[in-house]
Point group: C2
Chain length 307, copies 2
């Protein structure tokens, strides 16, 4: 594999940056990977497990001479980091990010990007419910999509390099504008996460149904919600606060539809329910055919002892 960027700097050393470090090494994409995390504990762990070639004690040290800098911090922390590193970015470098919201990141980060730096926002659609520097693995991006969201007048060569980079860590790449990205993600990720958090919260509140029952009898449906609702609280707080409009719009649509189905249940309209449930089954088939999920029953987890 060809080295695309001699030095890559990862700012924030959680699940995504950690997985990137592993995937960059797997593909031999960089000569040096530097890293920085705000928390001293995270930096110590990263050093202990050799996550990067060098872990720096400041973001500005980490980005020094880097050809690619990736901001992998919660969306709400992007502006502060950009402000800190802006003056220290190398001329001609590419600055990117992995934030789950794009319009707000572009708005908040752009003012701090020097004219001689290529700012190309990105969002890899990959993750797990685990977080922190130990949670990364090289295969996280394999066959997943990475959406690049170039701003106005983006340099074509710089964009092509970043495309190659994401493909080389295993992703499929798509280019999209920020507004559209934020709406698509509100549907496929942000609204479902809020809904899962809500349902798990409701179960937690119900006093007649004890904790033990909710936990033991969670086999069908609920336990999948709990996986989603175990995602990183800081990351998700920032996603909702920064993709407010699209998320609230989709949740509004969701509530209308839910009320419609509730009415069908109340009035005993079995045909309506059956038709609805038949239609949703087809989408699943499409996702499996697109290689975005497994067809194994229960994701394959039912076949062995699980604990």
């Amino acid at each position: 594999m060809t080295v695309i960027y001699k030095k890559v700097a990862l700012i924030g050393l959680g699940l995504i940056a950690g997985s990137l470090a592993h995937a960059i090494r797997r593909a031999g994409l960089a000569e040096v990977i530097s890293g920085y995390a705000r928390s001293e504990e995270t930096r110590d762990i990263a050093r202990e497990i050799g996550l990067c070639d060098v872990v720096c004690d400041s973001a500005q040290d980490a980005v020094k001479d880097a050809d690619l800098v990736i901001l992998a911090v919660p969306v709400g922390a992007m502006a502060a980091v950009a402000k800190e590193i802006g003056p220290h970015l190398k001329a001609g470098a590419t600055l990117s990010d992995v934030g789950s919201v794009k319009a707000s990141v572009i708005k908040n980060v752009s003012p701090f990007v020097p004219e001689n730096v290529h700012f190309i926002p990105a969002h890899p659609l990959a993750g797990t419910e685990h977080s922190g520097p130990r949670s990364g693995f090289a295969e996280l991006f394999d066959h997943r999509w990475c959406i690049l969201v170039p701003v106005e007048n983006t340099d074509a060569a710089a964009l092509a390099n970043l495309c190659s980079f994401w493909e080389a860590v295993g992703s499929n790449v798509e280019v999209m504008d920020a507004q559209h990205h934020d709406l698509v993600l509100a549907v496929t990720s942000h609204a479902p996460h809020l809904i899962a958090y809500t349902m798990v919260g409701v179960a937690d509140d119900l006093r007649r149904v004890t904790d033990k029952e909710v936990i033991n009898f969670s086999a069908a449906g609920f336990r999948d919600f709990t996986r989603i609702a175990a995602s990183d609280p800081t990351m998700w707080r920032d996603v909702f606060l920064n993709n407010k409009e699209a998320t609230l719009e989709i949740l509004g649509r969701f509530t209308e539809e839910l009320f419609d189905l509730q009415r069908a249940i109340r009035s005993g309209d079995g045909d309506y329910l059956h038709d609805y449930f038949t239609r949703t089954r087809a989408i699943r088939r499409g996702i499996i055919e697109a290689g975005q999920d497994t067809d194994a029953p229960n994701f394959g987890r039912n076949l062995t002892k699980e604990s």
Copy 2:
């Protein structure tokens, strides 16, 4: 393993009955397994794959001389089947079912149970998004809970035998009354399923977000919803129509809570969101410790090519 019931009759030959047939054989729990399904196609497949020792062309033939009869049909079909087989049940036999709702099954089936037959409703909390006679497998019930819901004056020996039977196919067994069962399941299964169906339906409706985008970019959150929303439409229609009150009550609670979180997003109350998301994370931990789910990231499915 000791034979508990010499002859077991399975009425309905879908995922649950099929898995039971495999699990009964794995444990050597019966000398003969008979089966019946309303659809001729299902009966033909069952014969072709040797699902039971004998597949009958009528329910009354299948239950003849059976020591245990298990109704494994959609909840809405239980009464008709019970009416048909009632006069043909062996004296002293146990009649059970696997319906996801218990109060309505008890109400609808009880009138057709002869006095000399032990009617002991049951609900194994196990399943996958697949259905039909080919979808069963022996391990489906391993480490999962089966809830027994005995009616008034249930014979203690008959109940003990049914407990032993479910334990022998791999389950943990719990005894509960019907009202409580239906409320617990509304929280852990019925409401989550309706919510997943709804969210997938919303995505399907959204014209600005094309099908291909919803499908390709479904990695985070949404694809787990699509798995749940791929469950059998007939089964789920009947669940909602037969557990109307508890499901609507929980959905009411859910909507209140959702509105609360929407308000927090709208007003930018990050602390509220962060606290909420931290609390829901703890429930996940409990489910994993109880052996009811895997701790592998993304249920382990991210680690290999998925298609």
